[in-house]
Amino acid sequence: MTDPEENESPHSSLASGEVGLVAPRDFVCASPFTFKSGQTLPGFTLRYETYGSLNATRDNAVLICHALSGDHHCAGVHAADDRKPGWWNNLIGPGKAVDTNRFFVVCANVLGGCVGSSGPSSVNPATGQPYGISFPFVTILDMVRSQKLLLDHLGVASVHAVIGGSMGGMTALLFAIEFPAFTRLVLAMATTSRESAQAIAFNEVGRQAIMQDPDWNHGDYPKGGGPRVGLAIARMMAHITYVSDASMDRKFGRRKKNPANGEAYNFDVQFEVESYLRHQGQAFINRFDANSYLYITRALDQFDLAHAYGSLEAAFAPVQAECLVVGFTSDWLFPPEQNRQIALALLRAGKSASYAELSTDLGHDSFLLESEELYALVRAFLERHESAAVDFSI
């Protein structure tokens, strides 16, 4: 997904209705963790944030699952003068669609990530060096299982809802499959039950950009070093897949960086869109690890529920959660049809499932959209069993 700073409307970070100041914490799991690949770690760390409080029955937790380049900081600010809040701040907060006055919101950086959780940039205690590509291969299932351990650690008896967009949607679906009795509601947006050839292809271009950069050095580079050029190119390319023709045209069109200069017969930045993408690439290399990018895109590519369980219906057979899938008309990375198919398979498997489709022109990142319609849907879903009275309104 694109950076939260891309949100088009400004915010007042500490106004009422905001989560406000938050601080990340670390969950250190000291027992060995076996990955789906069979590889093990003696333990792992997940960096996470929580907003709101766990109720007496310990069943009001809402787990937020982030996308490829996201992290645990999904709402609030880390300092009073922070320029930007967490990436889903528009959705999460007191009185917002995911209401922190009612729900205990938990969000963790995924296993394999690089924002505080164990991943390839973590130091291998056996060598004193970063793991690099000796870190175990991570799957969406490993992300799910490690986050369940975090919820257990926090004393959560059952989750009210698991919510995520893109990769977070995959995580949410798999959570309901793996922990059916633990999961009451699942809300998956702009996601897929299996990565298409096109999505894998884009990820592969990103990985090649990283691995063809000599500074990648087979994943062996010091912290702060590594394939900066390759990672920036991977991000520039991926960014295009998160938006749309229409939204780029609206934002940049063919506007020139320095219109006064006329036609420039060289390869310096001419168009605003070029400058913007270069900025995106540069900003990304300062906050993301190239090996993590390889690991997480690989986890995305391998995600295929139908293949893993025999069929999509078989995959969903154990699900007890009520599910809501949301597609976005202009999402061409995980198009509406792929979201639709998730809801249809759940219904064929006899599950409670809904599908809603929002008309937007912002592409894949539409799930981060500031939309009253989307907020109303999320709120209706999360609070669906609170009014038991029969209502005959048409």
């Binding site: 639709r340 006899g350 809904s354 929002l358 319609e373 879903f381 669906r384 029969v390 209502d391 309104s393």
Partner: protein
């Protein structure tokens, strides 16, 4: 309760009587989910609704229903034969682009199909058309021609003819007078304001 809402609940009661407890029900054109909600509450139905509108789906989701935003024929094509115990098409048939296609597909995915519609052959509508020479407007069709969705003014006679021509078995009928409450004793195409049919293949 307004007159229309009152009529709506009568409609729901008749359909409710035909729905077996705990059966799997699909409502085509479910709107805000009032009928499905009623069937879930009174019959413990496993209910799914289909509608085109995001806000109506939101209302269904808020009511705890399963609802799918999309085209009803496209939706049904994704399900095996007789997946649903009952498909309901209540006050929707007159607005369909392809009523035959939808009804036949509903009879494939459903063991039974309930169709409810306002009888345009009702005497008041005939008098209205004859004397005023204008599009029928009443409690149900409140809009001018230019404000409303395309609508086929289907009558009881038309519908019975359609079922016979397609070899569709009519297993139950409910013809209600203009109050949509009292059973119509005779000449339904003239005296029934509302008709409900239960169909099977």
């Amino acid at each position: 309760m307004s007159k229309l809402v009152e009529k709506r609940t009568v409609d729901m009661e008749v359909i409710g009587e035909w729905v077996d407890p705990a059966s799997r029900v699909l409502d085509l054109g479910c709107g805000r989910g009032a009928l499905l909600h009623y069937l879930v509450q009174t019959k413990e139905a496993a209910a799914v609704g289909v509608d085109l509108d995001f806000k109506r789906i939101t209302a269904c989701v808020g009511r705890g229903l399963s609802a799918y935003q999309g085209d009803m024929t496209g939706f049904m094509k994704q399900f095996p034969d007789r997946h649903f115990d009952r498909v309901i098409c209540s006050r929707t048939v007159q607005e369909l682009d392809d009523p035959t296609g939808v009804i036949l597909e509903a009879l494939r995915v459903g063991r039974a199909l309930t169709v409810g519609f306002v009888n345009h052959g009702f005497w008041k509508n005939r008098v209205d058309a004859l004397l005023r020479g204008r599009k029928v407007r009443n409690d149900v069709y409140t809009t001018e021609w230019f404000e409303s969705s395309p609508s086929n003014p289907v009558t009881i006679a038309d519908f019975e003819h359609f079922c016979a021509a397609k070899g569709i078995t009519i297993t139950r009928r409910a013809h209600l007078l203009g109050d949509w409450r009292t059973p119509c004793p005779a000449l339904p195409n003239l005296f029934a304001g509302y008709a409900l049919y239960d169909l099977a293949r």
